[in-house]
């Protein structure tokens, strides 16, 4: 399976994502933001970082990068596009997923492990997973998801919420919400569920010596789903 990770100026989780994808059997290629065309891929990843220094708004300038037109076309044709952290912010800014990401409620960068609950497995990312609650890692300053009431209704009606912040038992209460996001939302899909944006970094949880191994489960399953 082929994947592509886009490097924007200021991306800093691009290498980590590259390492993770290769580790679990993808043939990954790095793609420069100023390129016109995506290489042939089964999965495109917008990695974490501070594209364009987070200037203007996080993800906003990257969403206008040259390569993004091909990414948008790829997504519209049903290709799998995943945005992690800053990648999620870029997806939001490019309109591929609904809503916005505001500054964290307590106005501070947060780096820690969190638990997230998978809402629906009716999608290519989570299909066939045999558990609902995952321990993943977050590291962000602007992960406070927000959208209008109408958007929220639509998102919920379409089962577009990918993951919610929760505790180790899967309870999605406000006190388990690290950044103030609406309804504890940690990640969402587009309507067709081929585009996933989420704040947590599965690529940082791929080794028992690191923060944990739930990222490994995610990537292995993703590869099998795409095959």
């Amino acid at each position: 399976m082929k994947s592509a990770v886009i490097t924007f100026p200021g991306s800093n989780c691009d290498r980590d994502m590259h390492v993770a994808l290769n580790k679990f059997g993808f043939k990954n290629q790095m793609v420069w933001h100023n390129d016109n065309e995506l290489p042939k891929s089964d999965l495109v990843v917008l990695p974490g970082g501070f594209s364009y220094g987070d200037y203007l708004r996080c993800g906003s300038m990257a969403s206008k990068s040259k390569i993004m037109q091909s990414v948008i076309n790829f997504a519209k044709s049903g290709g799998l596009v995943m945005g992690i952290c800053n990648g999620f912010q870029i997806l939001v800014e490019s309109g591929l997923v609904p809503g916005v990401l505001l500054r964290n409620k307590y106005l501070e960068f947060i780096c820690k492990n969190v638990f997230v609950k998978i809402d629906s497995k009716d999608n290519p990312y989570f299909k066939n997973l045999d558990k609902e609650v995952f321990e993943l890692h977050i590291a962000h300053n602007e992960g406070n998801y927000f959208c209008t009431n109408d958007q929220l209704k639509e998102i919920q009606d379409n089962n577009q919420v990918a993951i919610y912040y929760c505790n180790d038992n899967g309870k999605t209460e406000e006190k388990f919400n690290p950044n103030g996001s609406l309804n504890n939302i940690a990640g969402i899909f587009n309507k067709e569920k081929n585009v996933l944006g989420m704040m947590p970094h599965p690529e940082r949880m791929i080794d028992e010596s690191l923060s944990g191994e739930d990222g490994s489960i995610f990537f292995k399953n993703l590869l099998n789903n795409i095959k």
């Binding site: 220094g53 987070d54 960068f109 780096c111 590291a139 690191l210």
Partner: protein, 729 residues
């Protein structure tokens, strides 16, 4: 403007220094030249008060590839890999403008590391604030933490360890020391020594602005009531540009175009161009009209003295300009050929086709002033006669609560959660342990790093304090299973013009030197920060030591959390009950006199090496060194992290229980072992003549100290974890 003595004094130069400049030049310098001299001759750049003493530090060893004198030190970690590292202060700017001051401190030290061709793989910091009651402390702490995070997080380099302390003596002078480690192949290290004539001199990175002019001079003076006026001397950082600069430089370094490279740090274009030429014994000629400027009509004086961030100066091989330009264009960075190397041994500056400065380089470097300042020796204070009858009135549980929630002991999670400590995917020991540990990407090796200081001990007796802080660093590396290799030091002191402060400096350096020599733990880089004082009041002497060690198989790394119920807990090293200058004496008894705990370098080395031997034989499950707060504080942290309790053995005390639990005797470690390995462990300890006691046994959920004193793990956690977040929110 005609230069005269008063203008020189306004530039921070002394009368006699100005006279020396005129003598060396055999004429009166013009203003640009005077500015260059003031930048090169200030304390920050010239080390004029410290050089004489720093020479005494041990700086070489089998693993040292590069000692002090380059942008950073370099050590060998085998298999062709090397670690480049250094610590640097950004104290004065951080007090004036905490966010930018701290941010640019982090940016500056990372530049020092990647200038040498190394990709930064870990950041650390040592930050010190005034009393928690002081009105400025909270805002300064918040600003500094945001600044460190703002820069390091954006760069995508994990911040893996640090140290935070609070003390009255920092009320008017906080300390912000930033350290970076980078990874490089041994045969791809870049140096700042220029070579060859007529080689193009290239300027890359951000444009030059009017920010930070005289930053280095500001850092070489004491603060007074006019401090707010100094805000414009603080540089403004842009981590995004630095990230691009890092990637562009590493891309260029992959080829063979670079002869020498130097970042523009303190004293900007002045010191970078002069250092490269000086090391190569060459001259350098710069056309200042070619320097990319952010603002119009900048004068040669301003261009030379600006400390705008994220800039590099490179001496290229002839004919490589186009190739280099292509790389910097790709990363949207400025690139300009601004001059060339010459054989004149002068720095010659041109602006609007006129020569605006011409100075022999040796007058700026070799002939810079060096002082043998007067200094006063600190006598070892008399041992305090603390009345032991008084101990009876203390309830251990109440004292433990006060100690664990003390600002200098409590958990600093509120701080390090704001630093990205997991990016790059190799952090295997996060902040909060004895050392931070990162894997060497793609290998089985890992590098451990720690930063430490003990200002109280250094203040009580600088010679002992200097030794202690090196030993503390050594112990923190050993505790995670790393073999200590070398240190970097950041020496924060008051005014060298005061005999007491100079004495503290001289004796701390002597102590550091003795310990480094004995432990074979050389100093490979560092920085001196004097004038950390407001009016007449200096800070407590605060040398920060950044230690680095290697773990050959990262799976053998040790953490401090208790692992398993029924395992045995040993205390290694002798407990003799030294309470003077301990947290207990100072904060519970309110007794500030007496000597710090003694350092026995033989025991220190022997105990440490024995612990490493035990770890390498897979006999240690968890380990933690004993530092401030004594045995009970060390054990409490192991309980909290492992979510397990301990039942202390009934001790054979020759000293009181309070002394046993809270004293700060040095060279000690707490280790957890499997009971079935007890014999093996004892035989190794005995063979090496290492003193130990069986401290207790790991149990579930409670710390049972004696029949009357029981503390639950939840209580320990609440003592230790809440103070800082409550204080900040």
């Amino acid at each position: 403007m005609e230069v005269n003595e008063q203008i020189a004094i306004d530039h921070g130069l002394k009368k006699e220094e100005y006279k020396k400049i005129c003598d060396l030049l055999k004429r009166i310098p013009n203003l640009t030249e005077l500015g260059i001299f003031s930048a090169m001759w200030n304390e920050h750049c010239s080390y004029k008060s410290s050089r004489l003493h720093l020479k005494k530090l041990p700086t070489s060893g089998k693993k040292v590839i590069q000692g002090p004198g380059e942008n950073a030190g370099v050590i060998d970690i085998e298999d062709g890999d090397a670690i480049v590292f250094k610590i640097e202060s950004h104290n004065h700017p951080s007090f004036i403008e905490p966010y930018q001051g701290a941010a640019t401190g982090v940016g500056g030290i990372m530049r020092d590391v990647f200038t040498m061709g190394a990709r930064p793989i870990a950041n650390l910091n040592s930050i010190h604030f005034g009393s928690s009651q002081h009105k400025k402390t909270k805002n300064l702490l918040r600003g500094v933490v945001h600044g460190i995070g703002g820069y390091g997080n954006c760069m995508g380099v994990p911040t893996i360890a640090g140290q935070t302390s609070f003390d009255n003596s920092y009320n008017g002078n906080i300390l912000v020391n930033a350290m970076t480690l980078g990874l490089v192949k041994k045969n791809k290290i870049f140096y700042s020594k220029a070579a060859g004539l007529n080689k193009p001199v290239i300027y890359v990175g951000s444009k030059t602005g009017r920010d930070g002019i005289h930053g280095a001079s500001m850092a070489s003076a004491s603060f007074d009531e006019k401090i707010e006026e100094k805000k414009p001397t603080v540089q403004v950082g842009d981590p995004f540009t630095e990230k691009l600069l890092l990637e562009a430089c590493l891309e260029l370094m992959a080829g063979d175009s670079i002869i020498a490279i130097q970042d523009m740090g303190a004293a900007g274009l002045t010191s970078s161009s002069i250092e490269m030429a000086s090391k190569g014994n060459l001259g350098i000629e710069l056309n200042l009209n070619k320097v990319p400027c952010r603002e119009s009509k900048m004068t040669p004086y301003e261009i030379m003295l600006s400390e705008s961030q994220e800039r590099m100066l490179i001496v290229l091989e002839n004919g490589k300009e186009d190739l280099a330009k292509k790389i910097f264009d790709k990363w949207d960075l400025d690139f300009a050929v601004i001059g060339k190397t010459t054989n004149t041994k002068n720095i010659e500056l041109y602006y609007d086709k006129k020569q605006v400065a011409s100075i022999p380089i040796n007058t700026l470097v070799e002939n810079s002033p060096m002082y043998d300042r007067k200094w006063k020796k600190t006598k070892l204070p008399k041992k305090n006669l603390i009345k032991k009858e008084e101990f009876k009135k203390f309830k251990i549980k109440e004292v433990l609560n006060k100690i664990l929630s003390n600002p200098n002991v409590c958990s600093k999670e509120w701080i390090w959660q704001q630093y990205d400590h997991t990016v790059m995917g190799d952090t295997i020991q996060k902040p909060g342990g004895d050392s931070g540990v990162v894997r060497v990407h793609g290998t089985n090796k890992a590098v451990a790093a720690t930063v430490d200081s003990s200002a109280i001990y250094c203040w009580a007796h600088p010679l002992t304090g200097g030794k202690q802080v090196v030993c503390e660093s050594w112990r923190n590396l050993i505790s995670v299973g790393a073999t200590p290799i070398a240190i970097t030091n950041c020496l924060n002191f008051g005014s060298p013009e005061k005999e007491e402060n100079m004495g503290e400096f001289v004796e701390c350096v002597q102590g550091i030197g003795e310990a480094c020599e004995y432990l074979k733990f050389p100093v490979v880089s560092g920085n001196v920060s004097f004038y950390n004082q407001t009016k007449e009041i200096g800070i407590k002497p605060t040398p920060s030591i950044g230690g680095v060690g290697l773990i050959k198989d990262y799976k053998q790394m040790i953490t401090m959390d208790f692992k398993e119920i029924n395992n045995l807990v040993l205390i290694i090293g002798k407990t003799e009950g030294h309470l003077d200058q301990s947290l207990f004496a100072r904060n519970i008894l309110n007794e500030k006199n007496g000597p710090p705990p003694e350092i026995n370098l033989f025991n220190e080395k022997n105990n440490g090496e024995t612990i490493l031997q035990l770890i390498k034989s897979n006999l240690v499950r968890s380990a933690h060194d004993v530092s401030i707060g004594g045995i009970i504080t060390a054990v409490s942290k192991m309980c909290i992290k492992g979510n397990k309790g301990i039942e202390f053995n009934k001790p054979k005390y020759f000293i009181s229980e309070i002394e046993y639990l809270f004293c700060e005797d040095q060279g000690r470690y707490v280790i957890e072992i499997d009971p079935k390995n007890l014999k093996k462990v004892i035989s190794i300890l005995n063979k090496n003549s290492v003193h130990f006691d069986e401290l207790g046994k790991i149990i579930d959920k409670n710390m049972i100290i004696n029949q009357k004193t029981k503390v639950t793990i939840d209580e320990l956690k609440s003592y230790n974890t809440n103070w800082l977040s409550n204080y900040m929110n």
